[in-house]
């Protein structure tokens, strides 16, 4: 059954036991909404130079959108921004693959638990759910960087 691939144990696990959930101190906060289905996320990032110190969030939505935020937290916190952005690109590629990319070992190395979302990429309406937190994170990061620069040059 195709559904099995979408509702991977991994995803359900992250949904039930989200990692890093809750709002903590940050350099920038964003609120993103998926207008077609109402999934919401409020997300903060805290940077130290180019290092991601924390990504904290609160949200409401389906198993996919909530699990994806938890996986995001796993994959980027503690990383250099540059590396995290690479992970994000690979995840985006996978999600936009329309079910045609079969994750190989190299991809699994990069994406870890996030490869479980491969099955989601077949369902365009759900891809947005999976990407919601990642888009929010990118947005918050650029705001944090802009704030940082503003402060430095002020």
């Amino acid at each position: 059954m195709k559904l099995d691939s979408m509702y991977q144990e991994v995803i359900l696990d992250h949904y039930k036991h989200p990692h890093g959930r809750g709002l903590r101190d940050g350099d920038a906060e964003v609120h993103h909404v998926n207008p077609t289905c109402g999934d919401e996320i409020t997300l903060r990032v805290k940077l130290d130079g180019s290092k991601i110190v924390d990504v904290s969030y609160e949200g409401q939505g389906c198993s996919i959108s909530q699990a994806s935020a938890s996986v995001l937290n796993d994959l980027v916190v503690g990383r250099e921004l540059e590396d995290a952005l690479k992970v994000q690109e690979v995840f985006l590629e996978l999600m936009q693959s329309k079910g045609k990319v079969e994750p190989d070992d190299a991809m699994e190395e990069v994406l870890e638990d996030a490869v479980a979302f491969a099955g989601v990429s077949k369902y365009p309406a759900r891809v947005k759910c999976a990407l919601l937190s990642w888009m929010a994170w990118k947005d918050a990061t650029s705001q944090a960087l802009a704030n940082g620069t503003a402060r430095e040059t002020a």
Partner: protein, 429 residues
Amino acid sequence: MTPLHGLLDTEAIRKDFPILDRVVHDGKKIVYLDNAATSQKPRQVLDALNAYYERHNANVHRGVHVLAEEATALYEGARDKVAAFINAPSRDEVIFTKNASESLNLVANMLGWADEPYRVDRETEIVITEMEHHSNIVPWQLLSQRTGAKLKWFGLTDDGRLDLSDIEQVITEKTKIVSFTLVSNIMGTINPVDAIVRRAQDVGALVLIDASQAAPHMPLDVQALGADFVAFTGHKMCGPTGIGVLWGRQELLEDLPPFLGGGEMIETVSMHSSTYAPAPHKFEAGTPPIAQAVGLGAAVDYLSAIGMDKIEAHEHAITEYAVKRLLEVPDLRIIGPMTAEDRGAAISFVLGDIHPHDVGQVLDEQGIAVRVGHHCARPVCLRYGIPADHAGVVLSVLHPRGGRRPRRGAGARTELFRLSWAQRVRADW
């Protein structure tokens, strides 16, 4: 199981809908329960579209050649059909728009630019309800922001009805327009038109009825409704996309100012000023949705041939049945009326704490198409304490899906949650 009475011959009707032969997900024939969002189109409507484009296509009201005359006759003929379908006193009261949203915005805009006594401004009030579709909320919010008029609304009771207990405070001497839906697209509630129209007339307010969810499901008689304007949309009533209707009382259409300006809606134009053609053309700027009007005319013929009273009876029977069976599903909560009384065939529910997206996806795998999310009526979700993203699932039947659908639909669903989702996910959590 108890036999249902007053059903249509849905096996015969099914055959008119080519899309119902569509097979999805490894061989499952589609079960389409998403009619509140849009209906499917019978062969008869598609044939009318093709005949129009293949034999008669031309711009209307403009040429003296054969095609132009034929296209004009077909387009205006569709207006006659729609006028008869809603029992309009005059065909000239039927305005073609692109969808119900445009019809509703058209009224809001006319009133914003109107002279007295219609003019909506900072001294006046607008009344809607908490169960409106976004298309009957946002135009009034915009009008209120732009004119300074106060926007008020009726709240809802716990069982999904309008709370009219404070009607005298809500609709007052200051009210210029009361706009509400005849049937809720999310809860299926049928609203008490008479009480609202009576109060509006007492204070001299205009009444606009959003009949988008009523037109496909029951006889619609604009004279019996007693409203000043009635709006609905073609694609939900077996017609094409890209066509809507606004019916309005003739005197009002004469008095009120135009909305969009352009070709077709003018009488004479100079660079300095223009005069406008009489209604309905005054409100139909530019090349109208010609083929779509012709298609809507065919849809109206199709529905009338079945009989709107029979469709209503059929839907009532299966709604009654479906509500009963759904309530047997463990942890299922219906949002809206729990009986078939004064309710249409849209049924909204939440299932425990399972997110509706997840429910929708599981149903889709079975070939069952339902709506999930806020259904373009987010305030309703907020009202019932359901997070906006958790608004539930609507299954809405239109006659061709009826008869066997609730049985199989509800059955499939129950089973599905029991066997697959519930076992897999809920038992486990």
